[in-house]
Subunit: 393 residues, 2 copies
């Protein structure tokens, strides 16, 4: 639809009466510029956590269907109150649950994927000149049960709706946009005015948590122009669009923390490796980088995972004559940018920074637009600052 | 359906974790005796009031559609948590929103009436041997908007579902059943083991607030056997069924408080009376008993209403040359029972009690099974005790 935009506001932007009022005003400002305004929102503040806590008090592992039935109420409270707030400020608005907005989902309760959207009621609301407020993070499945989209669900709802309405999507949050480096680590970091979908996807999976990678993937697939900015004030945020052919920059240093480096040692381990990884998958241990070393007798498998998996891994190999050694407090520092694609020497410059600063690394992995180093957590700040200066971030 | 029962628990019975647990156990006890158990519940404790407060802070007169969208979440939280609680105690359960349970409603938002119920998913749940937990007080209308049933809505949901499933309905609350007199006024009051639908409807409209009259009317129309009892403990409650032909008792003294007696005085008031009552209706003043007195010149209209209407009435007649006098603190004491139907002398005995106790009354009104006296609030206790003794309650 022409002259249409989908706005998304997260839980902290609507956490209480005053924030809800500020968001309502922001939406009305937008409505005075753009004819059709659709808004998706999350549950207010800590509502979702409070509901989860109530459920966990009853049963530490409650039915996932009932958990969804419970959690969808969080966003449903926000949409009704936000619609009332906009109405009290003199504009017409209508709230729609995920079901009413036509979100049909599939998969496992608690982490559903969007099958399709039938936005009939959204479009009808827009035609009636109403601001349409949609509950993010939720839909219904084919038997009419309420469902939730899991992590990053509200961003995904917003982007999916924008894809369906063929319009841009603006994600409002409590930061100014996406920075070259986390400003808490490197205070001189700059905000990126522009990033490509590929760069943001790489960042999202390498630890920069501004937007869910799943939502960026969807935007990339359906060519939805994205904007990420602060929900209050006048500052300008970051636009995310298709990669520009002639653009050659390094745009981001991301840091992924709490990595556990696991070293499995056993005779003839190579022959057991398929078995080992099957066991790990069965225990829901998420594995990132893997490498194998072997000499004549002893063989090692190194891999990285999250620190929370340590107990599961210890239990798994206790009975298997496999020795598991752990190194905790590892971080993965990544240099990301489209420049990696067609500019040689970036990797060499990154290696140079680590060597000059006497920082050892355990592993290096690369993708088309990134290079990542596993280093000790104690060297994180030095590495990030050195790399940020080298690439002028 | 054979071997089926609908249970209803109010908000105070499920107000926190411990109450929810007690209710879950009660439901499981029932399930061990009756094959098919359906439960309807209200929002936990003060949840509904808290949601209303949030809305009123935004707008003192919020959109009724959005208010419904907001309020339905209250019951939806309860059903999910109650289903989890039952599951944690080892029984299978499924929660259904009003929409999922098939409640279709019509009318004005905030006070909808039930059009029909399509209990497909309720029956499927029962066939799978699950305890089915249904959100009371709610449904959807013909355009798919969520709706609420207004005052007494949860009782009405329970009875309507029982009517549709052709089974009895048990309403659990924080009292033992329906007493002959409010025990707070007359401590010697007895619990009625049995009452007729007509008696309970009369009581509900004359001030005894144990069950919504709307729900009893529905039970009466569809011949749904009702039971009202305490949600905890082993005490026996009150059964409500069809009137027994041979039953001849007085079963209840009800008291309706905060009545305002209005005396309108004006020349030729009789000619203005249609206009007067039209104005009162326009101002939403609820009128109960009316009487007219006239002598040659001055004419009076007396009527009763609630004390909250005083300001509205004063405003209404300030400009109309009609003098309005008010008498506050009036109560209506009613004697109710099937015995009134076919036993003469009941009215005379009731009058006798008031005369013997030197209690003046302003008005008397009667129905087929009740007689009501308007008296000063200061005489309430004496009148109730005297009547209760006279009719051996």
């Amino acid at each position: 639809m022409e002259d249409t935009v989908v706005l998304k506001f997260g839980g902290s932007s609507v956490k209480d009466h005053d924030h809800l009022r500020a968001v309502a005003k922001r939406i009305i400002e937008k409505k005075e510029m753009v004819k059709n305004v659709v808004v998706t929102v999350s549950a207010m503040g800590d509502t979702t956590d409070e509901l989860i806590e109530k459920a966990k008090k009853i049963d530490n592992n409650p039915s996932k269907r009932e958990m969804d039935q419970l959690l969808v109420t969080g966003e449903q409270i926000t949409i009704a109150l936000l619609a009332m707030m906009i109405q009290s400020l003199g504009h017409d608005a209508i709230s729609l649950t995920g079901q009413q907005a036509g979100f049909v989902t599939y998969g496992h309760h608690g982490r559903q994927k969007i099958d399709n959207i039938n936005p009939k009621r959204v479009i009808r609301g827009l035609k009636e000149n109403k601001i349409v407020i949609v509950a993010g993070f939720q839909g219904i499945n084919d038997i009419g049960d309420q469902t939730t989209l899991g992590r990053g669900g509200s961003d995904t709802s917003a982007v999916a709706l924008a894809a369906k309405l063929n319009c841009p999507c603006e994600i409002y949050t409590d930061v100014d946009g996406i920075y070259t480096v986390d400003p808490r680590i490197f205070p001189d970091a700059k905000r990126n005015d522009y990033l490509s979908y590929e760069e943001v996807m790489e960042m999202a999976s390498l630890g920069a948590g501004v937007i869910a990678s799943r939502a960026v993937e969807l935007a990339y697939r359906y060519k939805v122009p994205l904007y990420i900015g602060r929900s209050t004030g006048k500052s300008i945020g970051t636009r995310i669009e298709e990669s520009r052919l002639e653009k050659n920059t390094i745009t981001n240093i991301s840091v992924l923390k709490n990595i556990l480096l696991v070293d499995l040692k056993s005779d003839h381990l190579k022959n057991k490796s398929a078995h080992v990884f099957k066991e790990l998958a069965g225990a829901d241990v998420n594995i990132d980088v893997i490498s194998l070393n072997s000499n004549t007798n002893n063989q090692n498998i190194y891999f990285t995972t999250t620190e929370e998996s340590k107990n599961d891994i210890e239990l798994l190999f206790k009975e298997e004559e496999i020795e598991a050694n752990f190194q905790e407090g590892i971080v993965k520092v990544s240099v990301i940018g489209d420049a990696m694609r067609n500019q040689s020497g970036i990797a060499a410059r990154a290696f140079g920074v680590l060597v000059d600063n006497h920082i050892d690394f355990y592993q290096v992995s690369t993708s088309e637009i990134s290079i990542s180093f596993l280093i000790d957590g104690k060297n994180e700040a030095t590495a990030v600052r050195g790399l940020a200066r080298e690439f002028n971030l």
